[in-house]
C-alpha cells in the first residue's frame, strides 16, 4: 500500500505528471497520424461507449476511495473549500464523455452514410411550455435544494479578522483563478496577470469569426471538427482544468509541489535555481560574461521570439496547417496563428522551466520587461 502511495507521489511530480497528461491527451485526441495510430491500436474509441464510460467512472471512484484511506489525502480533499473541485473533476470527465459518446454515435452513423441523431430531432417541435419551462423549473428546484443541503452540511468556513502581517501559507486564489495563479510561476506578473487574461478573453471572442467551418453545426461530432476540438480541448482540459486541480490539490505551503499522499510540511524546501536564457547562452554554452549592452545581451531571446512569432506561422502554414491556411485566408490565419502560438507558450515555458530551469527567455529587469 505504502509502495503504491509512494509511486503515486513520485509520478505526481510536475515534470512527470505533466508529461503523462500531455501524452494521454495526445493519444486521446490525436492531432497527428503517429498518435492516431496509437489511438487506434489502443482502441481508445471504446472509452466513449457506455461500457467505457462505466469503466472510467469506476476507475475514478476506485482511485478516490483508495485515496480516502490516507489521512493526508483526506485532509486536503475533504476540506469544505475543496469539495467543489472534487465535484468538478467528476463533472468535467462526465460531460466530456457524454459529448464524445454522442459524437461517436453520430460519426458512426455518418460513416455508414446515415444522418446524425440530432438531424431527426431537429425536425421535431418542442413547446416552450410545458416542455422547456417545466423542466427548467424542476432543474432550478433541484439545484436550490442541493445548495441548501450543501450549506447545511458544510457551512462556510468563517475565519477571524484578517491580519495584514500574517499571510496564509499557501495563499491561494479562488479556485477558478488557480489556473492563472499557476501561470504566475512561469511568467512575469504583467504577462500572466494582465496580458494573458486579456488575450484569452479576446481569443474566445474571436472564435466565431475565425471558425467558418459549417460542418458539425447542430449535432455532436468529432470527426467533422477534429482540429477545432483538439485545439480547444488541449487548452480547456490540459491548461485550465488540469492547472486548477494542481493548484487545489498539489500546491502546498510555500507553493511547493506535494504528492496527493504527502503531508503538507511547512518546512519542506526545494532547490529553485533558475537561470535566464541569456545566462544559459553566454555563461554556460559560450563560457563568457554577459554583454553589458542590454539588446546584445538579450539578442538570443529576441531572436527566438522573432522566429517563433514571425517565421513559425509561415512555416506552419506551409506544413501542418496547410489545409487550415487555405480555408481561412491570410488575415484569419495570422490572427489564429498568433493566438495559438501565444497559448502554446505556456506549456513551452513549463517544459523549459522543468527541464532546463529556464526562467525568462527575454529578461530585462531594468525595465521590468521579462518574457
Amino acid at each position: 500500500m505504502e509502495t503504491i502511495k509512494h509511486f503515486i507521489n513520485t509520478i505526481a511530480a510536475p515534470k512527470i505528471l505533466f508529461n503523462i497528461v500531455v501524452l494521454s491527451y495526445l493519444i486521446i485526441f490525436p492531432p497527428f497520424k503517429f498518435f492516431q495510430k496509437i489511438h487506434d491500436a489502443l482502441g481508445v474509441r471504446r472509452l466513449w461507449t457506455k461500457k467505457g464510460g462505466m469503466a472510467i467512472f469506476s476507475l475514478m471512484f476506485l482511485a478516490f476511495a483508495f485515496g480516502l484511506t490516507d489521512g493526508n489525502f483526506r485532509l486536503i480533499v475533504l476540506k469544505p473549500d475543496n469539495v467543489p473541485i472534487v465535484a468538478l473533476l467528476f463533472l468535467v470527465v462526465f460531460f466530456v464523455w457524454l459529448a464524445l459518446h454522442q459524437a461517436q454515435d453520430n460519426d458512426d452513423a455518418i460513416a455508414k452514410g446515415g444522418k446524425p441523431k440530432e438531424w431527426a430531432e431537429s425536425r421535431e417541435k418542442v413547446l416552450v411550455f410545458p416542455d422547456l419551462v417545466y423542466i427548467e423549473f424542476i432543474a432550478l428546484m433541484i439545484v436550490a435544494a442541493l445548495l441548501v443541503v450543501w450549506a447545511i452540511g458544510l457551512p462556510a468556513p468563517l475565519e477571524q479578522a484578517a491580519n495584514p502581517t500574517v499571510s496564509p501559507n499557501p495563499s491561494k486564489a479562488p479556485w477558478y483563478f488557480l489556473g492563472l495563479q499557476e501561470m504566475l510561476v512561469y511568467f512575469d506578473p504583467w504577462i500572466a496577470g494582465v496580458v494573458f487574461p486579456t488575450v484569452i478573453l479576446l481569443g474566445l471572442m474571436c472564435i466565431p469569426y475565425m471558425d467558418k467551418n459549417r460542418k458539425g453545426l447542430g449535432y455532436y461530432t468529432y470527426q467533422d471538427r477534429k482540429t477545432a476540438i483538439n485545439i480547444f480541448m488541449f487548452f480547456w482540459l490540459v491548461l485550465w482544468m488540469f492547472l486548477i486541480s494542481i493548484g487545489t490539490f498539489l500546491r502546498g505551503p510555500n507553493w511547493n509541489f506535494f504528492g496527493p499522499f504527502e503531508y503538507w510540511d511547512h518546512n519542506k524546501l526545494e532547490a529553485l535555481n533558475n537561470i535566464n536564457l541569456s545566462e544559459l547562452v553566454y555563461m554556460i554554452w559560450l563560457n563568457q560574461g554577459l554583454p553589458s549592452n542590454i539588446l546584445w545581451r538579450e539578442a538570443p531571446g529576441f531572436l527566438i521570439l522573432i522566429v517563433y512569432f514571425g517565421l513559425l506561422p509561415a512555416i506552419l502554414a506551409k506544413t501542418i496547417f496547410k489545409d487550415l491556411y487555405a480555408r481561412m485566408g491570410v488575415v484569419r490565419y495570422s490572427i489564429f496563428a498568433v493566438l495559438f502560438l501565444m497559448a502554446l507558450t505556456l506549456p513551452i515555458k513549463m517544459y523549459l522551466r522543468w527541464l532546463f530551469n529556464i526562467k525568462y527567455i527575454v529578461a530585462i529587469p531594468e525595465f521590468f520587461f521579462n518574457i
Binding site: 421535431e124 416542455d131 441548501v148 491580519n163 500574517v166
Partner: protein, 986 residues
C-alpha cells in the same frame, strides 16, 4: 427517410413531469425545513432551558424556605397576631372612623369649591389689571372705577386664600385623627411588610418566569414566544451579550469593541445561588473578586474574555475557543462536546491552569497582584532569574543586572575556578541561579564537548585579560570562624543568602536536575535573593571577602548588597567562617587548550565578516593568547553574558534575547517547534523552552553558531508553568485607562515604592503589607526578629524615616539582627516614604507640626499614669539611656525617640488598642475596647479615657534624651543605673 410524426402535444410526458415536480418540490421543502431547523436549534437554547427550569426550581425552594422560616419565626407570628387584633380593634371603632371620614370629605368638597373660585378670581384679576393699566395710560375716565373693582377682587382673592388654608387645617386635623386611630395597624403592617419583603421579591420574579404562577395571557405568551418565527419578537431564549467599549479587542492595527456572548450559556455566572449548579450554569468560583455587582470586576464592566480570552462572540462550545488544560480534560471534552481546536483564532481561551495570565494587562504596574498567586510567583521567578537582562520586558526596564560585577574578577577569583564555574555552575553550587550554558542537549556530542571546552577557556581568558586592577587590604585581622558562624546567623545575613541547603526548602535533593524537586515559593525566593554562598572558599580569597563585607560598594558601586556596619573583627570572623566552605570540583584538572579546535572557533567568527583566505592568514598570525581573547569576546557577545554581569568592553551592548513585552500576543506561527512533538500552541512551547531551552534543536543539523544558546535554569515543570503564566500575560492589547488597575497618583506612588521594596528585598526581614518576614525562621526567639511594618505610614514621621533609612540608628538595641545601611538614592528613600504613607491613606505632606500642651494638672496626671502604680511604662520601655529591669526579650523602644519618630495621632491609637495594629504584641492593652471609658483609671482626670490617652501622649512627646521630669515620677530599680547601654556603638 420519412419524417417522424410531430408529437400531438408536449414532448415530455406531463404526468411524469408532474410526478418529478412533486418529488422535487417535497425535497426542496424538506431541505428548507432542515435549514430552519438547523438555524433554530442552537446548543445554547438547551442550556437556557435548563437554566430556566433550574431558576424556577431554586426560586420555588427559596420561597418555600422563606415562608417556612416566617411561619416558624415567633416575632413574625406575633406581628401577625397583633395586626389581626389591631384590625379588629379598628373595626370596632368604625363609627368613629366613619364620622371622621365624613367630616374630611365635606372639608375637601368645600376646599375644592374655594380653589375653583380662587382660580376664576385670579384670572379676572389679571384681566382687570390690564384694563386698569390701559385706562390709566389713555387717561380714561373709567380708571377710578376699574381701580375700585380691582381692589375688591384682590380682597376677595385674599379671603379665598384664607378659606383654603383653614380648609387645609380641618382636613389635616381629620387626617391626624384618622392616623391616630389607625396607628397601630399601620405600624404593624409596616413590620409585616418588612418580614415579607424578601419573599415578595421572589414571588414577583416567579410570576414572571414560572408558568404555574403566571396569568393566563402570560401563560399563552410563554408557550408561543419561543416558537420559530415568533421568537423574533421577545423570546425567553435569546443570545445575551455584554458590549465593552473600553476594553477593546485588538484586531490587527484596529481596535474593535469587545462583545462577550459567554453569558448566553454561562447564565448563572454572577448569581451566587448557582454555586453548585452544573457547567455551564454554575456561578463564578470567586464571586468576591469577579462577576458579582459588588466585586472589583463586575460582569457588565469587565465581561469574560477580558481575562479569559477566547472568542467572545462564539455561542457554542467550539466557536468560543475553549481550551482544555490537560490531556484528560481534552479527551473528556472531545467525548462530551465533540471539541476540536478552533483554528483561525489567535487568542484562544487560556487553559484554566493559566487563567491568572489575564490579570497582567490591567495590573501590569503592580509589583504584587493580590490573590493572583501563580502570576506573582511567575513574575518573581522572572525577576530572580533575571530574564529581563537578556529579554527586554517593559515592566523591568531600569532594573539592575542580576549577576555579580566581573570588571575586577582577577582580584576576586582564579581562572581555574572560573573555568569550572562556567563549565557547570551547579556542580559547585547546586542551588545557584547562574544558568548552565554547557553540557546541554544540543552540545553533548563529543565534537561539541571539545568545542565547549575551548569556548570556556576563551571566555575565561577574556574576562581575566580585561579585568581592571583592584587594590585589596592586605592586613586582615585573624578571625574566629565559630564566632563568624554565629554572627552570620544573628546579624541577618541568612535573610538573603544561604549557606548550605536551599532556604525555605525542605530537605530535597541537592541540585535541581532531578525530579523530586522542592517547591519554590515567593518567600523562598526572597531568601534566595543574594547569591548562595556554598563553596565560597574555592571562589574567592579571605582578603577579598573581608573587604567586600566591610564595604560592598567599594568593589561594586551598584551592588544591592547593603553594608551591615561590621567592625573589623566582625568582618574578619564572618570571612573566616565563609571561606571554610570549599568545593572539591575546583581541584579537578582542567582540559588543556587545544589549538586546533580553538582555531576552528576563531575562524568561524572571522569568516563571518572577512574572506576565508584572509581569515586563515589572520589566525596564523595570532598568538594563542590573542585567539583566546578574540574568541572570548565574540563568545561573550554570542551568549550574552554581559546581560547579567558587568564586563569590560560590553558597556553599550544590546541584550541578546527576544523582547518579551508582548510575547503573549505572538502568533504561534512565529515559534519554531522543530521536530518536537508537542501541542502547537504558545503555552506548550514556552513551557518546553523553559524546561529545556535547547530542545527545539533536537533532530536538526546545525552549525555551532546557529544553535540555540539560551542557558538552562533547570526549572521544574511547575516553575515552567508559572513562568509561562506570566509570559502569556505579556500581551499587546490594553484596556482604556479607565479600566487599568491603580488609577491616580497615590496608586502610582504605592506601586513605585513597592517596586523599590521588591528590588531591595526589604520583605526578607520585614513583614510589609502582610507579606514577608522569612528571616523569622532563622531567629531563635520571635521577639528578636525585625519589626513587622504594619501601618508604618500611620506610625512614623516622614522626616525621621528619611534619616533612618539614610543612616539607620538602632531603635531596638537589644536586637542582634541589624538594619543594614543601603546605598540609597534620595529618590528611593522618598519612594519608600510615600509608599508607606499612601498605603495607610495619609495625606501629603504626611505630618502636621504638633506641640504638646499640658497644664500642670495634666502633667501630674500623666506622671501618675506613667508610674509603677498605674501603667508602669518603664517596665519595658527604654527611656533615654535608662534600661528597663527585665530581660531584653521584654524590652520596648526608647521613649526619647518618640517625639522625633512617631506621629502623635498614632500614639493615641496605639495606646487605645495596640492589638489593632499588631495582634500578639507585648504592649499591654490598658483600655478595654469593649468597655472603653469604664476601663480607664477612675481617679485620674475624672476617668476620662480619651483625655487620659491624649495627656499620656503629650507627656511622651516631651521626653527627651535626658528625661528630667521622668526622674521624679519613675521609681526605677536601682540596678537600672548600671544597665546603661552604648547605643551609638552599634
Amino acid at each position: 427517410m420519412s419524417l417522424p410524426p410531430l408529437p400531438p402535444e408536449s414532448y415530455y410526458d406531463p404526468k411524469k413531469l408532474d410526478k418529478i415536480f412533486a418529488f422535487v418540490a417535497i425535497a426542496l421543502l424538506l431541505s428548507l425545513i432542515a435549514l430552519f431547523a438547523k438555524d433554530y436549534s442552537r446548543p445554547w437554547k438547551d442550556y437556557q432551558r435548563q437554566f430556566h427550569a433550574l431558576e424556577i426550581e431554586k426560586a420555588r425552594v427559596k420561597l418555600d424556605q422563606l415562608q417556612l422560616d416566617l411561619s416558624n419565626n415567633e416575632e413574625h407570628q406575633r406581628v401577625l397576631k397583633d395586626l389581626k387584633a389591631a384590625q379588629v380593634n379598628l373595626r370596632q371603632q368604625s363609627s368613629q372612623q366613619e364620622a371622621i371620614n365624613r367630616q374630611m370629605r365635606a372639608a375637601e368638597i368645600i376646599q375644592k369649591i374655594h380653589t375653583k373660585e380662587s382660580q376664576f378670581a385670579k384670572a379676572q384679576y389679571g384681566a382687570l389689571k390690564y384694563r386698569y393699566e390701559k385706562a390709566v395710560h389713555e387717561f380714561s375716565p373709567d380708571a377710578a372705577q376699574l381701580k375700585s373693582q380691582w381692589d375688591a377682587l384682590a380682597a376677595n382673592i385674599e379671603n379665598l386664600r384664607l378659606s383654603i388654608e383653614s380648609d387645609d387645617t380641618s382636613i389635616k386635623s381629620a387626617n391626624d385623627a384618622l392616623a391616630l386611630l389607625q396607628k397601630d395597624v399601620k405600624e404593624l403592617e409596616k413590620q409585616r411588610a418588612g418580614f415579607a419583603k424578601k419573599g415578595e421579591i421572589i414571588e414577583h420574579r416567579l410570576k414572571k418566569i414560572d408558568p404555574m404562577r403566571m396569568s393566563a395571557a402570560n401563560q399563552l405568551a410563554d408557550m408561543v414566544r419561543d416558537l420559530p418565527f415568533l421568537e423574533l419578537a421577545n423570546p425567553n431564549y435569546k443570545i445575551r451579550q455584554i458590549v465593552l467599549k473600553d476594553i477593546p479587542e485588538d484586531v490587527n492595527f484596529m481596535r474593535a469593541q469587545r462583545v462577550d456572548r459567554c453569558t448566553t450559556c454561562h447564565l448563572g455566572i454572577d448569581n451566587p445561588d448557582f454555586v453548585n449548579a452544573p457547567q455551564p450554569l454554575t456561578a463564578h468560583p470567586h464571586p468576591e473578586l469577579f462577576m458579582s455587582k459588588n466585586s472589583p470586576h463586575p460582569l457588565d464592566q469587565f465581561g469574560c474574555t477580558t481575562c479569559h480570552r477566547g472568542r467572545g462572540r462564539g455561542t457554542d462550545f467550539i466557536s468560543a475557543a475553549h481550551t482544555p488544560q490537560d490531556e484528560e480534560q481534552k479527551t473528556k471534552w472531545e467525548k462530551k462536546y465533540g471539541w476540536v481546536e478552533l483554528h483561525h483564532w489567535d487568542q484562544p481561551m487560556l487553559p484554566a491552569s493559566l487563567t491568572q495570565a489575564g490579570c497582567f494587562k490591567c495590573h501590569e504596574n503592580q509589583t504584587v497582584i493580590k490573590t493572583a498567586e501563580k502570576l506573582n510567583l511567575g513574575l518573581h521567578l522572572i525577576e530572580r532569574g533575571g530574564c529581563y537582562n537578556c529579554h527586554t520586558i517593559k515592566k523591568y526596564q531600569g532594573w539592575s543586572k542580576s549577576g555579580p560585577n566581573l570588571e575586577f574578577i582577577a582580584s576576586k577569583s582564579t581562572k581555574e575556578w572560573a573555568y569550572h564555574w562556567i563549565d557547570d555552575p551547579k556542580s559547585i553550587r547546586p542551588n545557584t541561579w547562574m544558568p548552565s550554558f554547557f553540557h546541554q542537549t544540543n552540545t553533548s556530542d563529543p565534537l561539541s564537548m571539545k568545542r565547549s571546552q575551548q569556548e570556556i577557556h576563551s571566555i575565561v581568558e577574556y574576562l581575566f585579560a580585561n579585568s581592571k586592577p583592584f587594590a585589596l587590604d592586605s592586613a586582615v585581622p585573624s578571625g574566629d570562624a565559630k564566632k563568624g558562624k554565629e554572627l552570620a546567623a544573628s546579624l541577618g545575613c541568612l535573610a538573603c543568602h544561604n549557606v548550605g541547603a536551599q532556604p525555605g526548602l525542605d530537605e530535597g535533593p541537592q541540585g535541581r536536575g532531578g525530579h523530586a524537586e522542592p517547591v519554590r515559593t515567593r518567600d523562598s525566593l526572597r531568601r534566595e535573593f543574594g547569591p548562595s554562598l556554598v563553596g565560597l572558599g574555592s571562589k574567592t580569597t579571605l582578603n577579598w571577602l573581608y573587604q567586600w563585607l566591610k564595604d560592598p560598594t567599594k568593589y561594586h558601586p551598584d551592588t544591592r548588597m547593603p553594608s551591615l556596619r561590621l567592625s573589623d573583627q566582625e568582618a574578619a570572623d564572618i570571612a573566616a567562617y565563609l571561606i571554610q566552605d570549599k568545593s572539591p570540583i575546583v581541584d579537578k584538572p582542567i582540559p588543556v587548550v587545544d589549538d586546533k579546535v580553538l582555531d576552528g572557533i576563531v575562524l568561524d567568527f572571522l569568516k563571518k565578516s572577512s574572506m576565508v583566505s584572509e581569515s586563515e592568514s589572520k589566525v596564523k598570525k595570532m598568538s594563542r593568547q590573542d585567539k583566546l581573547v578574540f574568541a572570548g569576546k565574540r563568545l561573550i557577545r554570542e551568549y550574552g553574558c554581559y546581560g547579567c554581569h558587568q564586563i569590560p568592553g560590553f558597556e553599550n551592548e544590546k541584550p541578546v534575547g527576544t523582547e518579551l513585552t508582548e510575547e503573549g500576543s505572538k502568533d504561534v506561527e512565529r515559534l519554531d517547534f522543530g521536530f518536537v512533538n508537542i501541542e502547537h500552541n504558545k503555552e506548550a512551547w514556552f513551557k518546553q523552552k523553559l524546561m529545556n531551552p535547547r530542545i527545539f534543536d533536537q533532530g536538526r543539523v546545525l552549525e555551532p553558531l546557529d544553535k540555540a544558546k539560551m542557558p538552562n535554569f533547570d526549572f521544574t515543570p511547575q516553575e515552567a508553568e508559572v513562568i509561562t503564566t506570566a509570559l502569556m500575560g505579556f500581551v499587546k492589547d490594553r484596556p482604556s485607562p479607565s479600566k487599568m488597575a491603580d488609577q491616580g497618583v497615590k496608586a502610582a506612588f504605592i506601586n513605585e515604592g513597592a517596586k523599590t521594596i521588591r528590588q531591595l528585598n526589604c520583605q526578607a526581614c520585614h513583614i510589609i503589607d502582610g507579606e514577608g518576614g522569612g528571616i523569622q525562621s532563622t531567629v531563635t526567639d520571635k521577639s528578636f526578629s525585625p519589626p513587622n511594618l504594619f501601618a508604618e505610614g500611620q506610625k512614623v514621621q516622614p522626616q525621621w524615616l528619611f534619616e533612618f533609612l539614610h543612616a539607620p540608628t538602632p531603635i531596638r538595641p537589644w536586637l542582634q539582627v541589624r538594619m543594614p545601611t543601603y546605598n540609597f538614592h534620595a529618590s528611593q528613600i522618598n519612594s519608600i516614604i510615600k509608599y508607606f504613607n499612601y498605603l495607610d491613606n495619609q495625606e501629603f505632606p504626611f505630618t502636621d507640626i504638633y506641640h504638646p500642651l499640658l497644664s500642670s494638672e495634666e502633667l501630674t496626671a500623666a506622671q501618675k499614669m506613667f508610674s509603677k502604680d498605674y501603667f508602669d511604662c518603664t517596665h519595658c520601655h527604654i527611656v533615654g539611656n535608662k534600661l528597663p529591669a527585665g530581660t531584653p526579650d521584654n524590652w520596648a523602644p526608647n521613649f526619647a525617640l518618640a517625639a522625633k519618630r512617631l506621629k502623635p495621632e498614632w500614639i493615641v491609637k496605639w495606646i487605645t488598642n495596640p492589638q489593632d495594629f499588631l495582634s500578639g504584641t507585648k504592649m499591654p492593652t490598658y483600655y478595654d475596647p469593649k468597655n472603653f471609658d469604664a476601663s480607664a483609671p477612675g481617679d485620674i482626670l475624672g476617668g476620662d479615657a480619651k483625655r487620659q490617652i491624649r495627656v499620656l501622649r503629650d507627656y511622651l512627646l516631651t521626653i527627651s534624651e535626658h528625661p528630667l521630669q521622668v526622674k521624679q515620677a519613675v521609681s526605677a530599680p536601682e540596678k537600672a543605673e548600671d544597665k546603661t547601654l552604648d547605643i551609638h556603638a552599634r
